[in-house]
């Protein structure tokens, strides 16, 4: 059974801290790994990773994929209260009819205190 596991499930830090969120997966027919940020609404896209070892960066957020060890990390440096959200990891697999299907992890809830 395809599975995506995130850790930790929740995290509380103070502004300015650096955090690392983890995502491990066991799937057949891996296509890509995506990170989303979800506040009290729909998930918003952060990164898509398809190749091992190539870091993707956007401001204070960065992510990298290890396809050999089957995991990804999401780093957030100099955290701000606006970073408080649920961070979702999803693995896209080849589904039926040659289409992509997302398998989500359970999410990591990050709370950044002032």
């Amino acid at each position: 059974e395809d599975k995506v596991v995130q850790s930790p499930l929740s995290l509380v830090v103070h502004e300015g801290d650096t955090v690392t969120l983890n995502c491990s997966y066991e799937v057949t027919n891996f296509r890509s790994l995506l990170w989303y940020k979800q506040e009290k609404k729909a998930p918003t896209f952060l990164f898509m990773l398809t190749s091992s070892g190539i870091e993707k960066k956007s401001g204070r957020l960065s992510s990298i994929l290890d396809k050999k060890e089957l995991f990804s990390i999401l780093n957030i440096t100099a955290t701000q209260t606006g970073d408080s959200a649920v961070y979702l990891c999803a693995v896209q697999i080849y589904g039926s009819s040659n289409t992509g299907k997302l398998i989500f992890g359970q999410g990591t809830t990050l709370q950044v205190k002032p």
């Binding site: 609404k41 040659n98 359970q106 999410g107």
Partner: protein
């Protein structure tokens, strides 16, 4: 910026009643997805359309759930009859193409359903 539209945003219903949710994907997006997200969990795919055709409904409880995308644009998800366990956020997402390459899915604001 183009967005996925969903309505209603909130729905409260009694068990055994029928409910329907609507989704309008980003213009030009061929693929449309319906997800269910139970509180504290990640979204789970219910059904995927490519244009007007269903390409994956393996996780859709077909005894009570139905989905359609008649003209390959907007879509409706229906539950009849609703059960207490259906209380969740129902998310619609869309992506641009039809081919087997990695694509980003863009999510709508969701419909939060509460079944009493």
């Amino acid at each position: 910026e183009a967005e996925v539209a969903q309505s209603p945003r909130y729905k409260i219903t009694e068990k055994s009643q029928a409910v329907a949710f609507w989704c309008d994907p980003i213009s030009g997006h061929a693929t449309l997805y319906w997800y269910r997200q139970i509180l504290g969990q990640g979204p789970e795919l219910l059904v995927q359309f490519q244009d007007e055709s269903v390409v994956d409904d393996s996780q859709l409880p077909k005894d009570r759930f139905s989905a359609e995308r008649l003209k390959g644009v907007d879509s409706t998800l229906k539950i009849q009859p609703a059960e207490l366990g259906d209380s969740a956020m129902y998310l619609c997402a869309s992506s641009l193409g039809r081919l087997a390459y990695s694509e980003t899915q863009y999510f709508g604001p969701g419909t939060r359903l509460l079944v009493l």
